[in-house]
């Protein structure tokens, strides 16, 4: 008996001896090491992303003198809201903000609606060459915006859409829609058609089946598209720069540049507070939609 167990023991030792160090670490320890590495990685990434944001926000609340200094302090020594007061009372920023909000809302509504309907159509209706079309549409997304913006300027001015909200909404939508459409197409591919057929046999019209069954299941996709189009529209610079030439039609990105960089002198207090304000709506938008997004995933994820 004893020789037999000795044999087993020595076999195990032989085996252990021939494999890498990692295998000799116990399972709980391995998990600990893996987790620690993961958290270190996440911390670094978070820091890289958040540091500029934090710097903007902290600096926006400092007197300009504290910003333009050779010895910047990490923690603000004095806090002030002067920058924000000046931003909203003494500059064109409220106009820029209004323009951005209008354009962004327009883009989100337009893109979400058309991507949803189009993506649904591409999966459910027999269209010749629809696969080629669905993939080809993605190709148009790869054009650099500057390449599109110049012909757009010529076209838009021909039809009198320069310096209009609708003009910019259409231009940005044209940029986002291909990818959004492709995303929704992929999403509806995963919604079994038999669910809608079942609804139809139960008495629903095709549109009712779409509304009651396909649409709620595709909700996570729709919200992804909404977030995507929001991000595009809110941060757009190129299109707005070329298509919105009137100072009263500038959006925040072009507006901050035009108003606060003027005359060779950069008004840092305005730039920073303007940027800080511009950060808030995307944060809120994503935060609130994310809840629905996760809810939609848990409802739609399990068939």
């Amino acid at each position: 008996m004893s020789t037999e167990s000795d044999d087993v023991e020595s076999t195990i030792m032989d085996y252990r001896g021939s494999i890498p160090l990692w295998r000799q670490v116990s399972y709980p320890r391995r998990r600990l090491i893996r987790r620690s590495l993961l958290y270190v990685g996440i911390s670094i990434i978070t820091l890289v992303i958040l540091l500029p944001v934090l710097w903007i926000i902290m600096s926006a609340f400092r007197p300009v003198g504290d910003v333009i200094t050779r010895n910047p302090s990490l923690i603000p020594t004095s806090i002030t809201v002067d920058n924000f007061v000046a931003l909203f009372t003494g500059s064109r920023f409220p106009i820029y903000l209004r323009n951005t909000v209008i354009v962004t809302m327009g883009v989100v509504v337009l893109v979400t609606t058309f991507a949803t309907l189009g993506g649904y159509g591409l999966t459910r209706i027999d269209i010749p060459f629809k696969r080629v079309f669905a993939r080809g549409v993605l190709f148009t997304y790869m054009f650099p915006p500057v390449l599109l913006a110049i012909p757009m300027y010529i076209l838009w001015s021909e039809i009198g859409m320069i310096n209009t909200h609708v003009g910019l909404i259409l231009a940005i939508s044209a940029r986002v829609l291909p990818f959004a459409l492709w995303l929704m197409w992929k999403f509806f591919l995963n919604v079994p058609y038999s669910l809608e057929e079942s609804a139809q046999v139960a008495g629903a019209t095709r549109f009712q089946a779409f509304k009651d069954v396909a649409l709620p299941i595709a909700k996570p996709g729709i919200i992804s598209v909404a977030i995507l189009s929001f991000a595009f529209a809110w941060g757009d610079y190129t299109m707005a720069l070329i298509l919105m030439t009137d100072l009263d039609m500038f959006v925040i990105t072009t507006g901050i540049e035009a108003s606060f960089y003027s005359g060779g002198q950069i008004r840092w207090g305005m730039v920073l507070s303007g940027s800080a304000v511009a950060l808030v709506p995307p944060l809120l938008f994503v935060y609130f939609l994310q809840k629905y997004y996760i809810h939609g995933m848990s409802a739609g994820g399990a068939p």
């Binding site: 139809q200 139960a202 299941i217």
Partner: protein
């Protein structure tokens, strides 16, 4: 009162390089309260037929009538049917209650009323406690029950079922089979049940429709398709393990008496003829494995062969015997232990011999049975 009549139904699909015929001229009528199974191999057109009935496909040709109303071109939502899909098709974003009540919601039934009806239907299917769950939280069997509950709230003209049990394990299948029959009897509306599983078709149906290659091979009761298959296709498709075919000759046919020669063996049998037969006709003889007994004494059998495989199933065993005529399968008792490799005799049940035409494969005669009850060995 509802009767469904399908006449000359035809469905073609255009595919690359031509036309594919999925359903090729089907005639069928289903009477009120009847349970009909459509059974056949994959791609035989059974699901397409059902989808035409449901209104999810428009037939290329032919008509579908509910009672005297032609519904061929009526869209699915106006046909007043209830259908169960292969994947059950419960809506994942709705609770079980909302799922069951959905057909009523479409009909504009008030929320209170439809939820009450949903609860009653759930009670019938014994899933009342699951009403507030989402389909994703249900087991396969519970989902089936919820799906079935959703069909019964509708008071439909007919029930259509498209392989609803194919994803369940064997035990649940049997359980759900009973549930479906219970619902069918309770509602008393025609049920058309599509399956590739002959066992489901044979156990549940009043009549079985055997479909092959878009056409009907035979319509009949379980007894008819099993004991009097119209042709070799039906004989092969129905029955497990599948039927044995032997080449034979009708030596003499004298009224109801015939002498059938298979190899060197002569079998004297009484036959029911489907059509006139001449002496000396070469035929295909079909004998089901259930109608062959293995005798350890080779002297006692009609045929002699070497037992090559003995597979116990439950209290039965499937055996394969290498005979001069080829491989013959027989079903025996599992406790009748026969050594593989032993030479055995095969005794043919002379009351269960099927005779098919060599060219067309149609049934031309079968042996007469003295008692008309289905005599199957265990």
């Amino acid at each position: 009162m509802s009767e469904i009549t399908i006449s000359n139904l035809r469905k073609e699909y255009s595919v690359k390089g031509g036309v594919e015929v999925a359903v090729d001229g089907i005639d069928l009528s289903v009477t009120d309260g009847e349970f009909i199974s459509i059974v056949g191999p994959s791609g035989c057109g059974k699901t397409t037929t059902l989808r035409c009935l449901a209104g999810l496909e428009i037939p290329t040709d032919g008509t579908i009538q509910f009672d005297d109303v032609d519904v061929t071109e009526v869209p699915a939502n106006k046909r007043d049917l209830a259908m169960m899909f292969q994947n059950i098709a419960l809506y994942p974003h709705m609770t079980v209650r909302e799922n069951i009540a959905y057909p009523l919601k479409i009909d504009g039934v008030e929320k209170e009323t439809r939820h009450e009806t949903a609860r009653e239907a759930a009670a019938i299917m014994q899933i009342e406690e699951l009403l507030d769950k989402h389909p994703g939280e249900l087991s396969g069997g519970q989902q089936q029950r919820a799906g079935l509950a959703r069909t019964i709230v509708q008071d439909p003209v007919a029930f259509l079922m498209d392989e609803p049990l194919s994803d369940l394990d064997a035990q649940l299948k049997i359980e759900m089979r009973r549930e479906i029959q219970r619902v069918h009897k309770r509602i008393g509306k025609p049920t058309i049940y599509v399956t590739h599983d002959q066992e489901e078709a044979l156990t549940m149906s009043d009549r079985v429709v055997v479909l092959n290659d878009g056409g009907i091979e035979q319509v009949g009761t379980t007894n008819e398709v099993y004991n009097k298959p119209a042709n070799r296709f039906v004989a092969t498709f129905i029955g497990n393990p599948s039927i044995n075919y032997l080449d034979g000759t009708l030596e003499t046919v004298d009224g109801e008496q015939a002498v059938l020669k298979v190899g060197s063996t002569e079998l004297e049998i009484d036959i029911d003829k489907e059509k006139p037969l001449a002496d000396g006709t070469a035929v295909t003889v079909g004998i089901r494995p259930q109608h062959i007994t293995v005798d350890t004494n080779p002297e006692n059998g009609h045929f002699v062969g070497e037992l090559s495989l003995f597979e116990p199933v439950d209290d039965r065993a499937h055996t394969t015997i290498e005979a001069p005529h080829g491989e013959i399968r027989a079903v025996t008792h599992a406790n009748q232990i026969v050594q593989e490799g032993a030479t055995v005799g095969l005794v043919v049940d002379k009351e269960n011999v099927l005779i098919f035409d060599n060219d067309t494969g149609d049934l031309v005669a079968r042996s007469t049975r003295t008692d008309q009850t289905v005599s199957q060995k265990p």
